[in-house]
């Protein structure tokens, strides 16, 4: 039940050429900022502007009419002109072979009765022209595989495999800010605005078939047609992970109802059940949603819930075990043969249990060797690794202290940083080799992102989780999806 063909979405996300309608010379106006952002992201296709007066802005040719554009070279119009001007503009664009529009202009459905009429007319016109019309009243469209950042605000995220659609433009920015911070990037991002012609499920449908996208991430508030939303998102989630945050979750309270069932049926409980049924990964917060999506994009699904915590110090492991106990994951019973194998590698003071607490017993090759034994064991489904970067943190203090590089400090600093980078790479390599999730968590990812440990995790393309609890939450989402899929095989 796809409403729009995939090639219409490709015109939006991978346009051969773009025209910004309503270009401005004022750097505070949308008509300037959007052009600036398209150029700043390195967009390599044909680029034009239109404005009342012909000329040039930021080196881009500006025409006084769409009619003067070349035929058949441009796929996308980014619209910053006033709502009243847009019907004629879109007709002229269609005549030039433009197949998709993003309408940033306000003054539609959000603006009273008159605006609602204009929005209804806009949808009718879009259908008449056979044009995909995103927005209106939206922030923009971003597509790093096409080096496209057609939006009226920052940022431009690194390229990755997360496809984002949001009913709120702000959260497009939030998700992409996390992408910038963590390095786990984005394939597509679009702010649905008033979602007049293209709805959130429409974008998600496209992401399900889009090769650039491995996981869909969405923010919704209202769901106008609940049944259709359910059927369509279920079809998406059958193909790819779909992570969803719903705003207004607590707004719909329980209703007075004659039946006990009805009085227990709050909007949120029904919505939550719908998500579980559809196979949607529902996240409680924006950062949880981003981290779940980033994990789906970069880690394999676990085959089971049995999780081992590998830690270099005790407290972290204890807290992580607590978090696992509160989740759908299971703290794996340490297999006897694995315990025996670890005994060979470690002095007697290690925990001899899960969490595998090395108790500071590691020498040069201990962590890679121990990690390989754990990740490779057939009774282990997932691993959370804690303690990365602790030595590099000491190294940073040594480097900035008064004694560096003397007293052997240069050598030890270099050693620590090489070791932490090696541990991070080992975690990623073992995860790939054994096809199991291995999540690395340390607060250094946010407190000292330049630390050699977290920096090396970032280089592997994976997320370095800012806390063990957040790693557990993300891994829990992976296992819930794996279980959902396994039950339906």
């Amino acid at each position: 039940m796809t409403r729009h063909p995939d090639d219409a979405f490709r015109a939006l996300f991978e346009p051969r050429g773009v025209v910004v309608a309503g270009v401005s010379t004022h750097p505070g106006k949308f008509g300037f900022v959007s052009l600036h952002n398209i150029l700043a992201s390195g967009y390599a296709g044909v680029l034009y502007g239109t404005a009342r007066e012909a000329g040039e802005v930021l080196g881009v040719p500006v025409l006084d009419s769409v009619d003067a554009l070349p035929d058949g070279e441009i796929d996308l119009v980014f619209v910053c002109t006033p709502a009243a001007a847009n019907p004629d503009l879109l007709r002229a664009c269609a005549a030039k072979g433009i197949r998709a529009a993003f309408i940033a202009s306000a003054g539609y459905g959000e603006a009273g009765e008159e605006g609602q009429q204009m929005q209804a007319d806009l949808v009718a016109l879009a259908d008449e022209l056979g044009m995909l019309v995103a927005g209106p009243n939206g922030q923009g469209v971003v597509s790093p595989p096409a080096r496209l950042c057609a939006q009226i605000v920052a940022p431009y995220p690194p390229e990755g495999r997360i496809g984002i659609a949001s009913q709120s433009g702000n959260f497009i920015s939030s998700f992409m800010n996390y992408a910038v911070q963590t390095g786990v990037g984005v394939s597509r991002a679009v702010s649905a605005g008033n979602a007049a012609h293209v709805s959130i499920p429409d974008y998600l449908d496209f992401y399900a078939s889009d090769d650039a996208t491995a996981v869909a991430l969405a923010y919704v508030e209202g769901v106008p047609d609940g049944r259709a939303f359910f059927e369509r998102t279920r079809a998406v989630a059958e193909r790819k992970p779909l992570v969803l945050v719903k705003g207004g979750a607590t707004a719909g309270g329980q209703r007075a109802a004659a039946s006990h069932t009805g009085s227990l049926a709050s909007d949120d409980r029904v919505f939550d059940g719908m998500c579980r049924q559809a196979g949607i990964t529902r996240a409680a917060t924006i950062e949880e949603a981003y981290e779940a999506a980033a994990t789906f994009a970069t880690q394999p699904l676990p085959r089971g819930p049995r999780t081992i915590v590998l830690t270099t110090a005790g407290g972290w492991g204890v807290v992580t075990a607590d978090a696992i106990a509160r989740s759908s994951l299971a703290l794996a019973t340490l297999p006897d043969d694995l315990r025996a194998a670890l005994d060979e590698k470690l002095p007697p003071r290690w925990s001899r249990n899960n969490p595998v607490d090395l108790a500071g017993a590691e020498t040069r090759d201990t962590i890679p060797e121990v990690m390989e034994l754990i990740v490779g064991h057939p009774d282990v489904d997932a691993v959370i690794y804690l303690g990365l970067g602790i030595q590099s943190n000491q190294a940073a203090l040594m480097r900035s202290g008064p004694f560096y590089p003397d007293h052997g400090l240069e050598r030890i600093v270099d050693f620590h940083e090489r070791q932490d980078a090696r541990y991070a790479r080992t975690a990623a390599e073992l995860s790939e080799r054994f096809d199991k999730p291995v999540l690395t968590a340390t607060e250094l990812a946010v407190t000292h992102p330049g630390n050699a440990g977290p920096a090396a995790v970032r280089e592997t393309g994976r997320l370095c989780y800012p806390s063990a609890n957040r790693a557990v939450t993300a891994l829990d989402h992976l296992w819930r999806r794996a279980r959902h899929l396994q039950a339906r095989r």
Partner: protein, 214 residues
Amino acid sequence: MPTRSEADSKALLAAHGVAFPPEHKVATAEDAVAAAADLGFPVVVKLGGDRIAHKTERGLVRLSLGDADAVRQAAEDLLGAARPEDGEVHLLVAPMLQGNRELIAGLHRDEQFGMTVMLGVGGILAEAVADVTFRLVPISPVEAAEMIDDLATQALLGPFRGEPAVDRSALAEVLLGLSRAAEADPTIVAADLNPLLVVDGRPLAVDALVEVAS
């Protein structure tokens, strides 16, 4: 919205596979005594009718009746308690079932998502505890099993106070029966199986209320 009598509600849902304990619908106190003898003592006697939705609140349920005299007395009292606005009434005689655990299940038509099926932890604290889960009708056997897994109070579903674990496939059958009933009969707008009493591990609906569109 009009409600169906308990007996009609049960018949409607039983036709779609929801299991109920055996019971008799009778008109007189003497027939109630005969029904009780057939079922074996102790029994429950209730006053039923299409317009009687909340029996407990009106004191129209008599529990643990151990012999013929007690049944006769209760039946006469209940028939005497009928009000003119109740319309046609009858007596329901059912075995007095024992179980320490109560669940609740039902149907609810959601404004946004349409008909839903619900499972929850029952009893007098059900609404305060609100350990409940919903799915959209229709549900599959896998989804019914996942609803049971959703309940936070899993300890209640295992072996409990000398009673065996809840029979999960029987519980799933209750949910599937509700879903089938809602699918087959679009006039249903709500249903309650409350309580869904766990008797020797088996969930049995000892009361049912179906609401239909007017």
